[in-house]
Each structure stands twice: as structure tokens, then as C-alpha cells.
Point group: C2
Chain length 515, copies 2
């Protein structure tokens, strides 16, 4: 058994049985090893940003890592933007990067680069294997490292000779790291903060937004009347009818200041105090109201869900949440104009129970987010690090993780261009992903931001940088070019028919919504 | 005048009047400044790897830098693979990366990252501006730094507040750094090496492969009988009829060993001794024959062209090269099978004089490279860092630099998927680029490499990682989806007609060659 096979067997034994890959010559022994280890599913991606974004979607849904397989420094570099996003989502990923053979490095061949240097800004753990005999234990350590805290990126660099030389065999899995139990004093302080009579909010993140964590937050709201909020973007959030409703903060700083106006006490579980996404001349970065007391029920290395359960019990909260979202959808008239709000209403009406929504619709996302609050229960995955081009890969990975659930990807046209190669992987794997492209032929957020930074109206040169016109993108052709069936909607009627059909069918489909 | 406008004016004054951009909110002041400074041409790219690869193509053709405009760390990350390639080409690039405002950094907003960390592995020079008043001089220094040696990447990080705050005005350009004159002793040693009676080769790179440098190499060959060789990949090389012929070393190490068998003396100007691209079990990395003496006529910080002129004079070489490539092309029969050799013959026949060829055809590139040796004179740009996905952006940037010349991009289908967004920029700018996609529906090089690394034949899992089948890509739809007209050839007749038409027309067109 060579080092590569010992690596693949160790990964599988540790529960890492899916690999999103874009290999090169230096990774051929890893590829060959997958012929020996059928339990490892390799999913080919035609660009590395697809592989890393898919590993993010997979890891968010499974709570355990997928592996990537990337080709040397430049292959890693192509995957960094979505690793940045995954880092912000605290997603566990075992990021396997090939490197030149140890003896070959000093010749500085064309693909030689500082692999560790590229990896450092996104990785919580980095190791470069030094010998085939230790690759297996390096892999076991990487899997455990990826699950530290709520999750992080563990980058394992694999020089080619450590893959091809003889190894002893696979290594047994390490124990999965556990999150710390909540601090009883912190729970008491949080309980006091919520019962002090001041205007209070509970800001939720991480595992406080799904499963038992969300239910416990509902108990706390029932006991205290605290408003339940969450950050603008969250890695994974259960919502829809029958779920405890949580209000996300809006995007722009001044809107968050409005959302928090008058709040005197903010209790946090699994999140951070809100800050402005960008800085603007004369606008605030720190958005917690002056004088508002911040109390942490849990810290980053603790489970928000467990802390919320302890807090609910400390408060003597009722056994169940008192307020759950109702179910309410209504279709627009066929003659209504097609826009993000009418499209959102259609989406909410047909969204099947248990759907996973990957949301990178940015300026077109408000309508769908509003309408689906009372749609069938579903999960919502946001863009976490702000680096656009995450939505399509994220949906791809979520669909690999959850083949029995419908995955819906809501995406702006500008952002979708960064990682459109995702569609090919969806076609090859016949993933059950419906992609809705909101085609406004602009970086619409930038047109808004241009106004906000105080430079007046854009002239012709600036407009050329904000608009995606001349030529217009044709998403039907782009999707079909990668083997994904596609259709275009320019009326409510067309979108209703196309979206309903996509929800009832299985397999990948793309709908371009012409705004 | 704010910092951004002082930056743009300084760049223009220093001769940097083209910017390949993919901006975000933190770069809006730069974008606004382009409305004030019409002399700066901004070329929007829908993915950062297109912007950096285009800056490489532009810089190679112009011998001076374009600027990029990238959005924070993740935007830079998306551009790193082609910056790696540009670093290997020694291309001057002023790589402008926005960052959060200085005061905003500490809030660690979602897009915050280690921008300098991402930039370090590819940059020869990095500076993060600290104040609007110094941005202009930082820009002048960045332009000069980018032209150190044969060229390098100068990364200028621009925190948003240094862009929006008040600046004094533009800074005057710094003097352009000059390459060192050749070392007279090195020239004498090289002359002795070439006249020692041993079997000698002259290995050429950098500015030894075009213009006067290439002519001087021809004089040296005429005087000494030395074979003229160059590395497998070269940034910019003049070839075709009437040019001094130079033989590139082949790709695989054992072929290079054959190419160099019996060589006793290797004189180098502007290149490095050849090494294997990858390491393989039991195969050599260092490819210079044992006992062969290596003599440097020029080092990296010297001009190869000036050194070659000095060496030719030292040798008392004749005033002109004695051997130039003939002009010879011949069309295949319409009934011949369409493959890289018949396609190459068609390409050579119709290639117009002065064409620029961006070559990333990898396994399909041998036929076109052979046939075009005796085509009309042209320039050839190779993939320098081995990170595939350079060819389309490189052609885009070369076409921006040289609007009066036909640019031809030869590309494999696998590599073209990494940066296919280039086609949109070609359509928007109406660039005169003809793209030929050699569609073999595989990472064909990897199928070869799989055999070479000694792991037997690929099984079904491995094959799924090497083949781009199921589904097949449709390059006509992909191109049309981005506004580029396209056609497919599956016969010699079709390709001949389509390629001839493309050479006679202007503007972007794509031809998919079905292999």
C-alpha cells in the first residue's frame, strides 16, 4: 500500500467518504487509490472554486468534512475564495493539496510555489507530510482538526513522493473534538440580562439556528419576550412554517442600526456583535447601540444549542416555544409584473418541504427571503464571507450531501459567472438542484454602493464597470453548454409554470428570470 | 482630488493606461476616478483570473505594465493562479487590490482577510498604503517596481479610506529601472565555451527570443554552428518564415534528455537549465547531461538581447544570421481526418503575418506548433507557470495591447473551462481574437501522466477524474452565451472554411474542433 492509498483509507475510516476534486499530475496516485477504495466517492469539478464551495455546502449539511483534492499552489489558489467563505461559515473541510515530490522542490519547476503561504490565510490547521509512512496519521489528525470548534479548514499538503512511496497502512480515526460545555456563570449572566426588564434581544448563530438549538431559542423567547435575531448571513438556518421565527439583521449598517434601535441588552449565542459589511465615509462600523450591554451565553468554542438549552432551563422556560411561523403562501396573478417579489411568491408557493436553499441572490434576494418565511419548512444557507461565486458550488455540495432533498439555488447573474462550471458537475452527478438566476444584467449591489460612498452619479466609464450589458449573458445557452436543461422566464406565468415543473421533476435545471 | 484619483492620474502619467478590473464596494472610489481620467481604459472582466491573465498578455506584448483592480483578499485570491503564471513569465503588472478602510479592519467584517498573505507568494513587491497623501507616490513606486529585472508583480494594496480621503495630487513617474549591462568576463567565457570544439547549444529565453536578441542569436549560430534551443515554454517568441529558427525543448523529461544527448557545453542567455515539469518515481528532475558545462552569457537581471549582441561581436560573427526559416504551408485534403495535425496545417496556411498566438493547447498543441514553424511570421506566447486556464485571458490582454494584429488562441477544452469568462470581455471589447478549442473531452495530459507515474491502467473511478464526458461540453453554446459567435468543425473541410473566414473577419469568434 502506498501513501496515497493509506490516506484514502484513513479518510474513509474517519467518515470522510466524499472528495470534491480537480487533480493534476502530482495527484495521480491519490486518483489511482480511489480505484482501490470504492467507498470514497470522488466528484470531479472543472474549476477548484467549485470543489471548495461544494465542500462547504457538504460540510454545512453533514456536520462533518468532505475532502478536496487540489493541484499544487495554483490549484489551491483557485479554491481560496470559497475557502475564505467556508472559513467564515466554520465549515469542516479536509483540504488536500498535492505538492511536488520532496526532492523535486529545489528545482523550482514551473508549478512550484509557496503552497503553505497560499493556504495560511484560510486554514485553521496546516501540515505538509514529510514521509509516506506518516501520511495516514497526518490524515487522521487533519480530519480531527477540521472538526475543532464548530469546524475549520484543515489543509493537508501531500508531496507526490509521500503519495507514491510505501506506507504501513491506514491509521485509526482520532476521537472527534467536542465543543466545550457552556460556562454556568455565563448562562446565569445571560438569564439575568434577559430578565432585567430592559429591552432585550437574543442574537443567534451557529447551531442555535437549527434543530434543538432553534427550539430552545423559542423556549427562551416564550419565557422572556426577547426578540430573536440572527446576523444578516448565517451558515445554516431552519425556517418556514412550524419553525421558531428568527429575524435576520438587514445588510446595510444604517438598517441594522434601525433594527437594533432602543435595544438595551443583547445576549449572544453562536454569533458576533454586528458590524458594517464595508466602511463608508462618515458611517459607523460598530452597530450595537451605545450603552447596550452585550452578554455572551456561548463563545465560539462552545455549542450555542447546548448553551441555549441551559439558558432556557435556567429561566424555567416552558417546554415548548409558544410562537411558530404559520404556513401562508399566495401566488401572484399571471398578469403581475415579474420581479423578485412576484418570483419570490411563486418560489414560496412551490418550495417542497425539506428543501435546501443556497442563497446568493444579493439585491434580488429580498423578495424570496420574505415570501419563504411562511413557506414549507426548509433550510437556508447564506454567503458567509462575502466573496461572490459561492452559491452554485454550495448548492452542488449540499445536493451531494442530501440526495433525497430538493436543493434550490437563488443567484444573481454577476456572482454566478465566477463559478458557473458548477453546472457541469450538477449534470454529471444528476444532482437535484434547481438554479434560479435573477438576471438584471448588472452588479446591482455596486450601483447602490456607488451612490453610498459619496461620489455622485456614475459617468460612462464607471457605468461600464457596474453593468453586465453589451453583450448580455444568455444563461439558457450557458447551462445547456454544460449539459443542464434550462429555460427563461420573462412573465409571471412562464416562471410559475417553469418553477412548478422544476420542483416536481428531479435532476438539475436552470431558470433565468429576466428582470 | 482624493487618493483614488491621485492614484489613477499617477498611473496614467507613468504610462499605465489600461486596467483589467473586477471591482467591489471598497474599490468604488477608484472606479469613480476613471470618470475623471479618461486616459485610463478600464476593461471589465467577470472573474479575477481573467483580469490577471489579461494583464499578463498585455504586459508581455507591451513591455510595460497594465494595472489590475481586484476586490479585497478573496478577489485577489481568484486572480492568483494567473499571477503565478505571470510571475513565471516575468511580466510587469501593477496589481491593485482594494482593502477595508484602515479603521474598519479591526472589526473583522466578513470580507476581511490577510491580503498581504495572499499576495506574497506571487509578488516581487508589496505595499499597503497608509494614507491618501502617499498613495500617489506609492503608485509611482509600484510602476517602477513592476519593471525591475525583466518584470515582476508589484502589488499595491489600497485601503478604502486612502482612496476616499483628500490627496495632494498625482506623483511624477520614477525612472524606469534598467537591466544590468552584460558582464564582459561572462561574455568571454561564453565565447570560449562556444568555440571550444565541443558539442554546444545556446539556450535562449526572455528578450533573446524576439527582435534584435533573436537576430543576434542567429549571428552566433552562423559563427559557431551552435544549436539554438529554448525552454519548452517561453513568454514571447518570434517564429515563422524569415525568422531565426529556435528549437524548443520538448515537454517530458526523457524527451529533453534525448534533445540534449551528447551536448558537452550549454551556453545560457535569459533562461535556466531545464528541469522536469513534474517528478516521477525513478525519473530524473535535472536534465542537463552529466559532464555538460553550463556557462551563463546573461543572468536574470541582465538583458539577454544585449548579452547576445556582445557575444556575437566577441565571436566576430557575420553581420546577419545565415539561416532563416523558409515559408512553407500546405493544406490537407478535405477528406483527411480532422486532428491536431491537419488542423495545425490549416492554421499555418491561413495565419496572417504579425499574428499573436496564445498557446494552451497542451496535448493537442504539437500539430499546430510544428506546422506554424514555416507559417507567416508571428509571435507565440506560452503557458509559463503550468497553471491551466491562462490561454483565453492571455489572448484577451494581448488583443487589447495590439488591436491591429490578429490574436489566435489555441486551447484544450479542459483548461479553457477555468477562465471561460474571458469570452465575454472579448465580446464587449470586440477584440480581434479567434479561439480554437481542441475538444477531446478529457484532461488528456492526465491520462498520459497516469500511465507515467506507474500505477497501471485507470479503473472506473480514476477514469471519471480524467474524462470530461457525461455530459460533453458544447463550446458553441458556451461562447454564444457570452456573446461570441461560434462554430463547430468535425471535418477538415468545415474547419478550413471556418478558420479561413475567421482570419479574414475581425472581432471575436470561437471554433470548436471536435477531435
Amino acid at each position: 500500500m502506498n501513501g496515497a492509498e493509506s490516506l484514502v483509507r484513513t479518510l474513509v475510516d474517519a467518515g470522510v467518504n466524499t472528495c470534491f476534486s480537480n487533480p493534476g499530475t502530482s495527484e495521480m496516485h491519490f486518483v489511482a487509490a480511489t480505484d482501490q477504495v470504492d467507498a470514497m466517492r470522488t466528484v470531479l469539478c472543472l474549476f477548484e472554486g467549485v470543489a471548495t464551495g461544494a465542500a462547504d455546502g457538504y460540510g454545512r449539511m453533514m456536520g462533518r468534512p468532505a475532502a478536496t483534492l487540489l493541484h499544487l499552489g495554483p490549484g489551491l489558489a483557485n479554491g481560496l475564495a470559497n475557502l475564505h467563505n467556508a472559513r467564515r461559515a466554520s465549515t469542516p473541510i479536509v483540504n488536500v493539496v498535492g505538492d511536488h515530490a520532496t526532492d523535486h522542490k529545489r528545482f523550482d519547476a514551473p508549478l512550484n510555489s509557496d503552497v503553505e503561504g497560499f493556504a495560511r490565510p484560510v486554514s485553521g490547521w496546516i501540515h505538509s507530510s514529510t514521509h509516506a509512512a506518516t501520511v495516514a496519521s497526518d490524515a487522521a489528525r487533519a480530519v480531527a482538526a477540521s472538526m475543532e470548534g464548530h469546524g475549520q479548514i484543515a489543509t493537508l499538503i501531500l508531496p507526490a513522493d509521500t503519495a507514491w512511496e510505501k506506507a504501513g497502512g491506514p491509521a485509526p480515526p482520532l476521537e472527534r473534538p467536542r465543543l466545550n460545555p457552556p460556562d454556568p456563570d455565563a448562562i446565569k449572566r445571560a438569564a439575568r440580562a434577559l430578565t432585567s426588564g430592559r429591552s432585550s434581544v437574543l442574537l443567534l448563530g451557529a447551531d442555535g439556528l437549527y434543530g434543538d438549538g432553534l427550539r430552545q431559542a423559542g423556549r427562551i423567547a416564550a419565557a422572556t419576550g426577547a426578540r430573536l435575531l440572527c446576523p444578516t448571513s448565517t451558515p445554516r438556518r431552519e425556517r418556514g412554517s412550524g419553525r421558531v421565527p428568527v429575524q435576520p439583521l438587514r445588510y446595510f449598517g444604517e438598517h441594522i442600526e434601525e433594527d437594533l434601535a432602543g435595544v438595551e441588552s443583547m445576549v449572544i449565542a453562536g454569533a458576533r456583535p454586528p458590524v458594517s459589511f464595508f466602511a463608508y465615509p462618515g458611517k459607523a462600523s460598530w452597530l450595537t447601540p451605545q450603552g447596550c450591554e452585550i452578554t455572551y451565553a456561548s463563545q465560539d468554542h462552545e455549542s450555542a444549542a447546548v448553551a441555549l438549552a441551559a439558558l432556557a432551563n435556567e429561566l424555567g422556560a416552558p417546554a415548548d416555544p409558544s410562537h411558530l411561523s404559520e404556513h401562508a403562501t399566495s401566488l401572484p396573478a399571471d398578469t403581475d409584473p415579474l420581479n423578485q417579489f412576484t418570483a419570490g411568491a411563486v418560489i414560496a408557493h412551490y418550495l417542497p418541504e425539506g428543501a435546501i436553499v443556497s442563497d446568493e441572490a444579493t439585491t434580488s434576494g429580498i423578495g424570496p427571503a420574505l415570501s419563504t418565511q411562511t413557506a414549507a419548512p426548509h433550510e437556508w444557507l447564506s454567503l458567509m464571507g462575502g466573496s461572490i461565486g459561492q452559491g452554485l458550488p454550495l448548492a452542488t455540495g449540499a445536493a451531494v450531501a442530501c440526495p433525497d432533498r430538493k436543493t434550490l439555488c437563488l443567484h444573481g447573474d454577476g456572482g454566478a459567472m465566477y463559478t458557473l462550471q458548477s453546472l457541469w458537475t450538477q449534470a454529471r452527478e444528476q444532482l437535484d438542484v434547481t438554479t434560479v438566476i435573477f438576471s438584471n444584467r448588472a452588479y446591482a449591489i455596486l450601483s447602490i454602493e456607488f451612490g453610498r460612498v459619496g461620489v455622485g452619479l456614475p459617468g460612462p466609464n464607471a457605468r461600464s464597470q457596474l453593468e453586465l450589458q453589451n453583450p448580455e449573458l444568455d444563461w439558457v445557452k450557458l447551462a445547456e453548454g454544460m449539459g443542464v436543461s434550462a429555460s427563461k422566464s420573462s412573465t409571471v406565468k412562464a416562471f410559475r409554470e417553469q418553477f412548478e415543473a422544476a420542483m416536481k421533476a428531479r435532476g438539475p435545471h436552470l431558470i433565468e428570470v429576466e428582470l
